[in-house]
């Protein structure tokens, strides 16, 4: 395994047209070693989601160096990487509504080329094994986020990008979900980048990158795909 | 002064083949059709009447009519009104000396329409007939005088100044049959209206050629509801032709021909338009020359009506000390044909007494 999972140098990204560009990310640099964890802090609109989008190849940076698993970002097959190595967890709606929790995990695992036989195991590990046949609208928000974590770990990821994964949960549930996330991250040894505005959650990561001072109070829109 | 408007509508409608005749079509069509008047001869001030030719058809003009109204009385002394009109409407102009097309080609250079109506005891009988010209089915000849459509016919009789008018509708003995068969004795010479026969129809100079026979003695038989009624009385005969239509914006007209008991005759009409009506008329004294009446020499106003149709009028000719009221009898006198209009006898009271006829158009919806 590479020593450095991720290396970012002088990353820039702005939105808008030629006449009126709004810088979102300006001259950003950081690194993440394997099994390391990094919290992205900052208010809404500070560029957390944009950075995550860039890190999984859904958006391209304007300038700067980005090396992921030792590969320059311009040479990366992002599609394959997202399928097999990068797991993404959103604040909500991580599950296909028409599929049961287990089928969701199976779908994600099969896309990543992982065996479906381990899917029930991941649900058990996340304490929702008994709910495997339920549909997303039949379980609580916390259980949905656990299922989302099961999906991510079922693909055996090298890097997890989590965008406010506990953002819409109450304190207790949020702590439970966060516990599971950090525990399994430690066990599997994958990298974790977690965007949050919750300082307590951020403090559980090895490093914190505060984007607040980098971006003005510009609203770049909602966390979009 | 006759159904200009009717003819216009008919024209527009025959030529363009629009689906339903109605006032919208008529007035929408006015402007279009004026452009199409090229090729037709147009009456103008200075034109004169020529007899007997002008009793016949004028194929170079677009529209013309032969029109007779009669205020009659039955043997029982009941009033009876009677109307007969024949129209010619050209679709293309033809010079007077040109050869008419072959009948076997079923030509459609002109359409003819005849109307006949009888008003008696509050009831009104009306019928219309249509024909294409140049077949022989309908036509008009000046000498010897004859105007006909199918079996309806007005024609000179065996004696000079003696005419016959026959009309029948339906089959004798069957329900709905009615008819008239009249002898007309024409007294006096034709009266030219306006300027030697040129009668203006708007302030801007549109007009028609127009003359009348105002003193006709009538005797004959009218058959209504299986009863033969012997009648006698007075009639009024109009001849009018033109090519130019009403100005756009003229909504219709009100026309009167009156036999006053004093022996004088009076013709008056007004064309209704936005911002003031155009009035005109002719005062025909018992003796002496007829006098044309201009817009400011006569007043004509409705005073009451039945529905949208004004059936009571006040007519004033200050220069002749005429201030009379004209009243239609009770009843509905709408000629309900392709183009409905009102045609009823009127009684005259006020400074003068007498009887006459009234024609009102453009009040139908």
């Amino acid at each position: 395994m590479e020593d450095n999972v991720l290396k970012v140098r002088g990353l820039r990204k702005s939105f808008g047209d030629r006449d009126a560009t709004v810088p979102v990310l300006a001259d950003l640099s950081f690194e993440l070693h394997s099994a390391g964890s990094l919290a992205l802090m900052g208010r809404s609109g500070s560029g957390k989601s944009t950075l995550l989008n860039i890190l999984c190849g859904l958006e391209q940076p304007d300038a700067g160096e980005l090396t992921l698993f030792g590969q320059d970002h311009r040479q990366i097959d992002w599609q394959q990487l997202r399928r097999e190595r990068i797991g993404v967890v959103f604040q909500e709606a991580n599950l296909m509504p028409a599929l049961s929790l287990l089928d969701n995990v199976r779908l994600r695992a099969s896309l990543a080329g992982q065996p479906e036989s381990r899917c029930q195991h991941w649900l058990d590990v996340l304490d929702i094994g008994a709910l495997a046949q339920r549909f997303p609208d039949q379980v609580s928000g916390g259980q949905r986020q656990r299922a989302a974590l099961a999906m991510v770990f079922a693909m055996s990821p090298s890097l997890i990008l989590a965008d406010e994964p506990t953002g819409s949960l109450d304190r207790v549930t949020a702590d439970d979900v966060a516990d599971s996330l950090f525990r399994l991250q430690a066990e599997t040894g994958c990298g974790l980048i977690l965007a949050t505005h919750d300082p307590e959650l951020a403090s559980r990561c090895e490093k914190i990158l505060d984007l607040a001072h980098q971006a003005a109070d510009q609203n770049t829109g909602q966390s979009g795909l | 002064m006759r159904c200009w408007w009717l003819s216009m509508v008919a024209m527009v409608w025959l030529v363009t083949g629009c689906s339903k005749p109605d006032s919208e079509a008529g007035f929408a069509g006015l402007a279009d059709s004026r452009d199409g008047s090229l090729g037709f001869e147009q009456p103008a001030p200075g034109d004169v009447l020529v007899f007997p030719e002008d009793f016949g058809a004028h194929p170079a003009h677009r529209i013309e009519w032969w029109y007779l109204t009669a205020n009659l009385e039955t043997e029982a002394g009941d009033p009876l009104g009677l109307q007969w009109t024949q129209f010619r409407q050209a679709l293309e102009p033809r010079s007077t000396d040109a050869t008419p097309p072959e009948p076997s080609a079923w030509p459609m250079q002109a359409a003819w329409m005849a109307h006949a109506a009888v008003s008696h005891q509050g009831q009104h009988w009306f019928q219309e007939r249509l024909a294409r010209g140049d077949l022989g089915q309908a036509g008009a000849i000046a000498e010897p005088f004859e105007v006909w459509l199918d079996h309806w016919r007005m024609a000179a009789g065996d004696h000079p100044n003696q005419w016959q008018l026959t009309v029948s509708q339906g089959q004798p003995g069957q329900q709905g049959y009615w008819a008239f068969d009249l002898e007309l004795s024409v007294k006096g010479l034709p009266v030219a209206h306006g300027d030697q026969g040129f009668s203006a129809k708007s302030a801007s100079g549109e007009g028609s050629m127009y003359f009348s026979l105002v003193d006709i003695e009538v005797t004959g038989t009218v058959t209504l509801a299986d009863k033969d009624l012997n009648v006698q009385g007075k009639a009024w005969f109009d001849r009018e032709w033109s090519s130019q239509f009403l100005k756009a914006g003229q909504q219709g007209w009100d026309w009167f021909a009156l036999h006053l008991d004093s022996g004088d005759k009076l013709m008056a009409f007004r064309l209704r338009e936005e911002g003031g009506h155009f009035r005109s008329g002719t005062w025909i004294p018992r003796s002496g020359e007829p006098r044309a009446l201009s817009s400011d020499q006569l007043q004509l106003k409705p005073t009451a009506g039945s529905g949208p149709v004004p059936t009571r009028w006040r007519l004033q000719v200050p220069g002749q000390d005429v201030d009379i009221e004209l009243v239609a009898p009770e009843g509905n006198y709408t000629n309900d044909g392709l183009f409905p209009y009102w045609e009823s006898p009127v009684s005259v009271s006020g400074s003068h007494s007498g009887a006459g006829y009234m024609e009102l158009t453009g009040y139908n919806n």
Partner: protein, 753 residues
């Protein structure tokens, strides 16, 4: 900010949803208005067509000479109501035109129109102004003078004979109109479904706002009140444009581009159409209110009970079975229509249920997770788009039924004309002339080698003994029985019916007689002709398309010599022989200069052309329904799939290629629309069957043949594919844009399963 403006603000944020809603409402209005207009036009067109072909009289010259314009003028000036009818076969054309004079036609009763002939436009199909017809270079031209015989006495030079363009259509037209009415009710149902789906869409898209308002203390009743006010407002905005659009559409479909332009720029359109907007407006407002009020009119418990009852498809099956039984057993029309409604309701409920069950079964059976997701998603689509899908299904079914019906009517009309006008020419035997003389001449001079076929027709009355009761029937005797009758389509027959009929071994009965006395092929009838009693087997039943009188067809050789013939004629297809040779010879033999001869081929051609407009209008009506149902599905599908966009984009986050996602979407849309078409097929066939085999016999006592047209099914399938393709392509554009994450409540917008 009031609750109302808070509700409306939804559309400020999502203007496209508001526009889609308004568009659907507008289309539904346009649809029904269009149908309403087309139906009334079809009705008018049919009655005009029937008026044109109804029986008339003509004048002929006693000396047999051709009529001319002089004859016309002479008779008109005698006071007769007369109109010219100039049949012209133009050079280089195979179809005749008829020149008429609308001015002369005015004296016939019930006509007050000088620009058409009995409502038929003067455009040469087949009628035109007589001057134009006379001006055509003609291969053949013949002038007829149609007369109203009650308008006067004819002079001795003329006589009056029958004249008609075609036999009386009788109940054929009434039947067509009844079916048309049944169909417009169906269209109203489809419109209702479309409106309901619009209403539900507007509800579901804003459940968040409702929840919020509820939290702010606004009662659900008030929210609902606001919603209805909003819908009524929307209706007020879309109603008039919808009605106008419907009129324009109807005109476009009925009269082509020219009349649309006329409609657009001619104020007369709106004057003459009078209150034609009133009816559609009233119907639409009522329908809209009903559609919104369904939720209050039917108590929630009952609705829940329905939903439970239908969880296993039981309710829809029950409705189908009950409706089917009702249709089968119905003894009167009202009961039948009720049963059809039940059946349609059952079919409408069954379809989404079927698809939903199918999808979950197939999802269960799929080993591959991605395929399982696809089927699950398909199930969601079917459930969410149930209403527009049912509307499309019913529209497709209706189009199928109408296509079959109209084609059947055309074919029937053709058969019916063919049956009555089987030969090329029809020659009346003049009163007092001897038909046998003509038979002898024809046998001698028209040998089989000439290709000529003919038969002699004798008509009269006979007595039929039905279970002890004597009943009068029409007798229709033919000799020789040959090719002119043997290609008739028989409803039922014994073996070799025509040979046996020719041999005098039996009779045939018409449909009406068979229906009334339950006669079938093989039964025997007791017949009395001129006092002579005969017992003969029934060899076949021939269709008579609504002729109310009972009729018996037999070989003329079987008639007793003293049978009183009320009418006699010859039907002749002369083959290579010139018909004039025949008429001249017979004219000389009969010493009758003017024979009544009708050219049946031109009658057939003309009658078909006169009715063409009616059939065209009916097809237009159904196509309009179909197109709008398709557009509705397109819009609803697009709107719904847009709310699911997040999940399709999720697949991209999970590393699926965009083309793969697009293909999934496309196959989803295609499968949904094609499923609707496939499930429409049985409904359409059932509907056709009900229309021709059940409604018609119940209403009129005779049936139309049930013909199906599989080629047309393929066309409809193609159309369904096209709709699916359009939805897919619309979504492809969407895929490239950022997706908004489903809202906090999660299960409402786009999160359905």
């Amino acid at each position: 900010m009031t609750a109302f403006s808070a509700l409306l603000s939804h559309y400020r944020r999502h203007p496209w949803q508001g526009i889609a809603l308004a568009l659907l409402m507008l289309m539904a209005t346009a649809l029904w208005t269009g149908i309403y207009h087309l139906t009334s036009q079809a009705r008018a067109s049919l009655s005009q067509s029937e008026r044109v072909v109804e029986a008339r009289y003509q004048v002929q010259r006693v000396d047999g000479a051709a009529l001319s314009v002089e004859d016309f003028v002479t008779l008109r000036r005698q006071g007769l109501c007369l109109m010219p009818w100039l049949e012209v076969l133009p050079e280089g054309e195979s179809r005749r035109v008829i020149g008429v004079d609308p001015l002369a036609a005015l004296c016939f009763q019930g006509q007050a129109d000088v620009v058409s002939f009995d409502g038929q436009p003067l455009r040469g199909d087949p009628f035109m102004d007589i001057a134009d017809a006379a001006a055509l270079p003609a291969r053949q031209a013949q002038l007829f003078l149609i007369v109203d015989p009650d308008t006067g006495e004819l002079s001795a030079d003329y006589r009056i004979t029958d004249f008609s363009l075609a036999p009386d259509t009788g109940q054929l037209g009434d039947s067509f109109l009844l079916n048309l009415d049944a169909l417009s009710v169906l269209v109203l149902l489809i419109t209702g479904l479309l409106l309901r789906s619009v209403y539900l869409l507007s509800l579901s898209q804003r459940r968040d706002s409702f929840a919020l308002l509820h939290r702010f203390g606004v009662s659900p009743r008030r929210v609902r009140g606001h919603l209805v006010a909003e819908l009524v407002g929307l209706a007020a905005l879309t109603l008039m444009p919808g009605i106008l659009l419907g009129q324009l559409l109807a005109n476009a479909l009925a009269g082509g581009f020219a009349s649309v332009m006329e409609g657009l720029f001619d104020s007369r359109q709106f004057v003459t159409s009078g209150n034609s907007w009133l009816m559609p407006a009233l119907v639409m407002v009522t329908l809209l209110l009903l559609v919104c009020a369904v939720d209050w009119l039917i108590p929630e418990k009952l609705r829940k009970a329905f939903a439970v009852a239908n969880r296993s498809g039981g309710l829809s099956l029950l409705l189908l079975v009950a409706g089917g039984a009702g249709v089968w057993l119905a003894a009167n029309l009202l009961f039948l229509f009720g049963s059809v409604a039940l059946m349609l309701a059952g079919a409408g409920l069954l379809m989404p249920w079927c698809l939903s069950v199918l999808s979950s079964r197939l999802a269960q059976a799929s080993k591959q997770p991605f395929r399982r997701w696809w089927w699950a998603e398909f199930g969601v689509l079917c459930r969410r788009l149930a209403l527009p899908l049912v509307a499309l299904q019913l529209s497709l079914a209706m189009v199928l039924a109408v296509q079959a019906l109209v084609t059947t009517f055309e074919a029937t009309f053709d058969h019916w004309l063919g049956q009555r006008l089987s030969a090329d020419y029809y020659l009346e035997v003049p009163t007092d002339a001897d038909g046998q003389v003509a038979v002898d001449w024809l046998e001698q001079n028209l040998p089989e080698s000439s290709g000529a076929i003919w038969h002699r027709v004798l008509r009269g009355q006979g007595q039929l003994d039905v279970s002890g009761h004597e009943q009068s029937v029409d007798i229709f005797a033919v000799a020789p029985v040959g090719a002119l009758v043997s290609d008739w389509r028989l409803i039922e027959s014994a073996g070799q019916p025509w040979q046996r009929l020719a041999a005098g071994q039996g009779v045939m009965v018409n449909e009406q007689l068979a229906y009334r006395h339950e006669l079938a092929a093989g039964d025997s009838v007791q017949l009395t002709l001129a006092g002579q009693s005969l017992r003969l087997p029934v060899l076949g039943v021939y269709p008579d398309y609504g002729r109310p009188a009972g009729e018996i067809l037999l070989a003329a050789d079987q008639l007793p010599d003293d049978f009183s013939v009320s009418f006699e004629s010859f039907s002749i297809s002369p083959g290579e022989v010139d018909i004039e040779v025949i008429t001249e010879a017979l004219s000389a033999l009969w010493q009758e200069p003017a024979l009544t001869l009708r050219d049946n081929r031109s009658i057939r051609d003309l009658a078909n052309r006169v009715f063409e407009q009616t059939f065209m209008l009916t097809r237009a009506m159904t196509m309009l329904t179909l197109v709008l149902a398709a557009v509705a599905l397109l819009l609803m599908g697009w709107v719904f799939l847009s709310t699911r966009l997040w999940y399709f984009r999720l697949l991209a986050v999970w590393g699926t290629a965009r083309t793969g996602i697009f293909l999934s979407l496309l196959t989803l849309a295609l499968t949904v629309s094609v499923s609707a078409a496939a499930l429409a097929l049985p409904v359409g066939i059932g509907l056709t069957w009900v229309l021709v085999q059940r409604i018609n016999p119940l209403a009129f006592g005779w049936s139309l043949p049930l013909d199906l047209y599989p080629g047309f099914w393929l066309e409809l399938l193609g159309l369904a594919l096209l709709i699916g393709l359009c939805i897919g392509l619309l979504m492809r554009r969407q895929l490239g844009r950022p997706a908004v994450r489903p809202s906090v409540t999660g299960t409402i917008t786009g999160g359905e399963r």
